[in-house]
Amino acid sequence: MAGQPIRKPTRLEPWQDPGQAPYVRIEKVTKTFGDFVAVDEVSLSIYRNEFFALLGGSGSGKTTLLRMLAGFEQPTEGKIFIDGVDMAGIPPYERPVNMMFQSYALFPHMTVEQNVAFGLRQDGVAKAEIRDRVEEMLGLVQLAAFGKRRPHQLSGGQRQRVALARSLVKRPKLLLLDEPLGALDKKLRERTQFELVNIQEKLGITFIVVTHDQEEAMTMSSRIAVMNHGVIAQVGTPTEIYEYPHTRFVAEFIGSINMFDGRVVEANGDQVLVASEEAGCELLIAHATPAPAGSPVSVAIRPEKILLSKEPPAGETGVGEGRNRTTGIVREIAYLGDVSIYLVQLPTGKTVRVTAPNVTRRTEMPITWEDEVTLSWRPFAGVVLTQ
């Protein structure tokens, strides 16, 4: 399940505006450790005030990419520009970047205040100003009462907020966050996601957040880069990534999805007709990436875009006998409160996942186990994947 984006869309997104220069430009960056390629020819442009998420499974090279931005690792090949300046050979302590570490990395022998003040002291900021800014920062993360404590006297969530305050206090142009919410429980996590977005909008800092939690990436970010084995699989807004995945990997990584293998029968502009034995019907897709007739493709359909009914629905354009419509038997129902998940088995043996909102009470549910049902979807529901 994907969450709802928290942020309101702005007028013209910077990545759509050709006049905008990217704030961070990563050009064909490769990083190898011995023979192992951790990051493979990655190119990315990230703009001012973006909340950019790097999403990917474990070991996909997210941390490595972030560490190259912070200056702890040097790219084996390629270049990194921050604000137009080539970062090659510039040590971490001279980059306009701060990082919040996966492990928080709070200095155990310093109090919360000293931890937060550390960065300002390195810059030789006046004592009085340090005090004010530390106070302001601790207020922002709601830790004003904890300034005199040591890190080990704090709970996990409090430590995480100290780490955030410490990385924000220098007002960096670019903040790198490595799994910032990894150690928090679900409730605290959701609250902190909102806090992070608020802070980011209030301070106008560019955030690059690493996460392997797709829901977190969806809710917080302006754009997402999905990484797989060191390669960027797709870059786009949460909606683009969710609704128009380019590859099977992206489609399956974000949320759950039904895949039907088939062959293109007819391609007419951006309308594509696919015959799929697995689905037991023809699939008509509007606004598809053009594919030549005869080529093997997969059609991906999200569970919530499939309509479940006892009787075939009437009067839907593009839906009819043997097209975007098939039948099956309900094998499993999972009741989640707001929605229910149905696993429907088609005569071909394929199991299709469908989610439907529970508009009526559970007890009055018209569809139950072992019912024969009709599955149908509109031409706009499917996505054609060529790989």
Partner: protein, 277 residues
């Protein structure tokens, strides 16, 4: 039940093996008789005599001085070595260097002593320093063989330390030297103290290496004890040894109490944090 009986028996036997000699030594330091093996009643006269034995007192003073200076030097050099080994990352010959720093731990002392003596003699011929053998050469020799111990202690402490702490400091604008003094050093301080104490005790009880590189007028306490034993043990030596045991035991006792208290405090703090969290 049977196993517990066996275990406690093993325990007592082990500790007896370790401590009976020391207990005997302490008991006989209060012996009234001149003969070490005959008990003739309680007396503290050997302690009084000890206070007037200038040879022993001078030697003791010299030993403490050498131990303190060489332990300090060993901590400095050993820290550098430990730091390089654990923070340089993978470089060519890292394993070789790692092995070489620990080799002196198992090197026979006779060989260490002999090789250092040869070095000092050669150096005196070529550069005119060190001028003869004495306190300087003993101190240098002790520094050489104790710094390996310090390096090992420091290295293991650094290996257990979260490397991202240093990176975080650098990320916040601290240069590498600053990072070392403000972050690394305070965090490995316990290892430095432990390393210093280790080096100090090693230097204090070394006879072999010191015998090779000492000169006239620079006799350390263990050397005095060792040579006086040849003419029969004076109970004064027992008294001196008892005092040394007392000093060492007090040091260890205080150190362990401090550490235990810190640990308890930390546990309490963590408990508190969890409850408040």
């Amino acid at each position: 039940m049977k196993r517990i009986g066996f275990l406690s028996w093993a325990l007592w036997f082990g500790y007896a093996f370790l401590y009976v000699p020391i207990v005997l030594l302490i008991v006989y330091s209060f012996n009234d008789s001149r003969l070490v093996t005959v008990w003739a009643g309680f007396s503290t006269k050997w302690y009084a005599e000890l206070l007037h034995n200038d040879t022993l007192l001078d030697a003791a003073l010299l030993s403490f001085r050498v131990a303190a200076v060489s332990a300090t030097l060993a901590v400095m050099l050993g820290t550098c070595a430990g730091l390089a080994l654990s923070r340089f990352g993978r470089f060519r010959g890292r394993t070789l260097f790692g092995g070489m720093i620990t080799a002196p731990l198992v090197m026979p002392e006779v060989i260490t002593g002999l090789s250092l003596l040869l070095l000092f003699v050669a150096m005196e011929q070529w550069v005119g320093w060190p001028d003869g053998r004495g306190v300087t050469t003993i101190t240098l020799a002790h520094t050489t063989f104790t710094m390996s111990y310090v390096a090992v202690v420091v290295q293991s402490r650094l290996a257990g330390m979260d490397g991202s702490l240093e990176e975080a400091a650098m990320d916040l604008g601290a240069r590498p030297a600053k990072v070392f003094f403000v972050i690394t050093l305070p965090l490995i301080a316990p290892a430095l103290v432990a390393g210093w104490l280790l080096a100090f005790t090693l230097s204090l009880d070394d006879v072999v290496v010191a015998s090779f590189v000492s000169g006239p007028g620079s006799t350390t306490l263990p050397m005095v004890i060792f040579s006086s034993v040849k003419f029969g043990i004076s109970p004064q030596i027992n008294a001196l040894a008892t005092l040394m045991v007392l000093v060492v035991a007090t040091g260890i006792f205080v150190a362990s109490i401090v550490m235990a208290r810190q640990e308890r405090q930390r546990k309490r703090d963590e408990q508190m944090a969890i409850q408040n969290g």
